[in-house]
């Protein structure tokens, strides 16, 4: 299968500091790709260049052959890129269902409709999406009442509303309990397994990264320092040194138990 995304020599500097240097990679359809690295390695900068929030100094990002650089985020979304946020961004004064409906209303280009009742539009489609992520029972709850984990899940439903080719998830499990993390990423993996959507995610929880990703990219000081499967990355000495740590944490734990 062909590449959904082709990233070529992406670079970005902030006031003389090179946050991202010459990053290139490809993403196949149906691939689940993790982007990891220490804080400040340039993951978020990289991400924001993929979804249009930042304009790279140099380089190109092609989605199914179409250039994304220089296109504002809202248009990147229309071209088929969905995203979830590290800190959830939802419409807190609306219900769960309404949140998904808004994405559908926008997708169908009806946001300037002055007369229809918004809550009556695309109800069934929105409910189907909520069923897909297992939140149909909470459809009518106000968003502001939801637990954090549920909000993260809702974001996934919103991001899938326009049937994207590419889904970008920035630290999708940050702030969730361990089993919620597993459930959310399992859900995402199931959706990826259907073969249509490709996912790139950043993550600090290595269990999540190693459990689900097909391939892992490691960034350090703005540069891609490693790329490979979970086993390859775990065995990579450079990655261990800059990011995974010498394992002293786990070592101490063992001595503490002994």
């Amino acid at each position: 299968m062909g590449n959904v995304l082709e990233v070529r020599s992406l670079s970005k500097s902030f006031g003389g500091i090179r946050a991202v240097r010459d990053v290139s990679f490809d993403l196949k359809r149906g691939e689940f790709l993790a982007l990891i690295g220490p804080n400040g390695a340039g993951k978020t900068t990289c991400f924001n260049m993929l979804n249009g929030y930042l304009r790279p100094d140099t380089g190109s990002v092609k989605l199914l052959g179409r250039e994304l650089v220089g296109i504002p985020p809202r248009k990147v979304w229309r071209m088929g890129v969905g995203r979830t946020f590290q800190i959830t961004e939802t419409f807190r004064s609306m219900t769960v269902l309404e949140n998904v409906q808004m994405a559908l209303i926008s997708h169908n280009r009806r946001i300037f409709d002055l007369f229809s009742k918004a809550t009556a539009l695309y109800r069934d489609e929105a409910l189907k999406l909520l069923e897909l992520i297992g939140m149909a029972a909470q459809a009518d709850r106000p968003c502001a009442e939801l637990a954090y984990g549920d909000l993260k899940q809702l974001e996934l439903a919103i991001a899938l509303a326009h049937d994207p080719d590419l889904l970008l998830m920035d630290e999708p499990t940050a702030g969730m309990a361990p089993n919620e993390r597993i459930a959310l990423m399992q859900l995402t993996a199931d959706i990826v397994a259907r073969g249509h959507v490709s996912v790139i995610f950043t993550e600090h929880d290595m269990d999540v990264v190693f459990a689900h990703s097909h391939r892992i990219l490691v960034l350090n000081r703005g540069e891609l320092i490693a790329e490979g499967t979970g086993d390859e990355i775990r065995a990579n000495a450079l990655v261990q040194e800059v990011y995974l740590g010498g394992g002293s944490l786990f070592h101490e734990k063992e001595t503490a138990h002994a």
Binding site: N51, P72, P73, R74, K75, W77, R78, R83, F85, E89, T90, F91, R92, S93, M94, T95, E98, M102, A103, I105, S106, H107, R110, I111, F112, D113, L114, F115, S116, K117, A118, T119, L121, P142, C143, A144, I158, A161, H162
Partner: protein, 630 residues
Amino acid sequence: MGFYLAQLLTGLANASSLFLIACGLSIIFGVTRIVNFAHGSFYMLGAYLSYTLVTHLSALGALGFWGGVLVSALLVGVIGLLVEVLILRRIYRAPELFQLVATFGILLIIEDAALAIWGAQDLLGPRAPGLSKAVRILGEPIPQYDLALIVIGPVVLGLIWLIFHRTRWGVLVRAATQDREMVGALGVNQALLFSSAFFLGSVMAGLGGALQIPREAVNLNMDLSVIGDAFVVVVIGGMGSVTGAFIAAVLISVLNAFAVLVFPQISLVLPFIVMALVLVVRPYGLLGKPGSEKGAPADPEAPLRPLNPAGRLAMGAVVVILALVPLVSADFTMILLVDVLIAVLFAASLHFIMGTGGMISFGHAAYFGVGAYAAALVVKWLGLSMVPAMIVAPVASGLAALVFGWFCVRLSGVYLGMLTLAAAQIVWGVTFQWQDVTGGDDGIIGVWPAKWASSETAYFYLALVLCAGGVWLLRRAAHAPFGYMLRGIRDSEIRAEAIGVDTRFHQWMAFTFAGTLAGLAGVVSAFAKGSVFPDVLNISSSIDALIMVLLGGIHTLLGPLLGASVFVLIESWVTRLEYWRFIFGLIILGVVLIAPDGLAGALSRLLAFLKARIRPGTDTKKEALHGQRS
């Protein structure tokens, strides 16, 4: 050459007094996040107090003058402290608009108090002993007092900078400007810090006013006339930045000193034009920081629910009752009811951008006024009759909103509010000064309705149809995708952008839509009164609209309807009294302190309470959380 230098020096002297007022405002905003209209009152009180003190101490010469000035500034500080401790301290957690309206209430009270103490006539203060003459520089006479002021401004700036960077108190104030709660958790007594910052800010305002007495006559309009310029300076400099305020004060005053040479009428609008330009380039002002525009975080609103059958019935009943009024009542009741209808549409249109859209507008009167003036102008100059005028006017205000809205939606929070204020002031200034076309202060008279609508009854029905229709349109839009997405942008701009919405464009259209309907209210008002005057455009009428929305409750669509009705009824009663501002100010403070969620909120709490009384066991909290009826 000498002439230009003289202009420059006059500009710099003005800059110093403007800076004194503005830096106090900026300090207070930075720490307490309160947009303090009463700051203008502190300035005015400083002038009045120093007039009294300096006159009494004139025997002491220079010591009497400077001593009087300093003591007045300190007295104003104490008054500010009292205001903070007695009133503002209770509303730090309230939404920022409540605080703003509360400070406006304080302004009204102080204005009437000053009227009672010092009377309505202008008071000309004594000159500063030893500085009463002019020196010649390059042949031009420069008042010595101006030169003293030019020195005082930078000296005060230096002192404040030292306080903020070299004292622990200053570091704490700067920390509190960024995260008040955290400063408290680190052991700092917030209440004390706020009060002391408020004291310092008030002293600066008092000092600014006190130093002004040799330059201008003390009068009761000083409060509102200075507050507009002070806001502009604070906003251009960046809210919370004292150095920024200084730069902005110099920029405005010097530009003004030269601009009046070319175009004498410009002084009323120039600061606002400069502010609009600066904000478009730097949305947080010259030295402001992103995030500094935000007030206290608000609790999320409950989801919008359509009106239940009982509610629909009630709304229908209100319209039917209104339609039957002419059968039983006298003309003056109908005139009052027309006022109510106009106010309801005006407030509902403001609520659309402010409540639904989350965009604060301190200048909504601009669009109401443009509607009224557009109608009056086409009647006067083109000889059009009422119906075409009623079509032209909303289009004109829609266009005005389109133009100003383009600038405004680029900003958020208080900055946005200030820019809307600037827009309104520009329209007001142009109307006021362009005498040949608008009649200036004399307004335009003879704007009468068509013959068929000229009886009180006929015009009442016309107003009912137009205003109820406008309100219906606004409500419909609020429940439609347009209004929902507007609310979505308010909740999370990032999320809206991430689902393909051009958020600025959407807000721009909403601004224009609301402006058009405000214009409709304006034209109905123009033909009801038969005349238009510039005061429909001034700060007070913008604030009236804000009060109506807040009085009713900003979190429900019914709020503005309720608030506007009650407001007009109270106003028509209170303004007959002598010290009506005082009473009105008290009413405002009462509402803010007792019913911070507005009448609609208070009403729903009362209903929930009664329900719980009748059916014990029902959870009132749950009822209240159930959702806003709209």
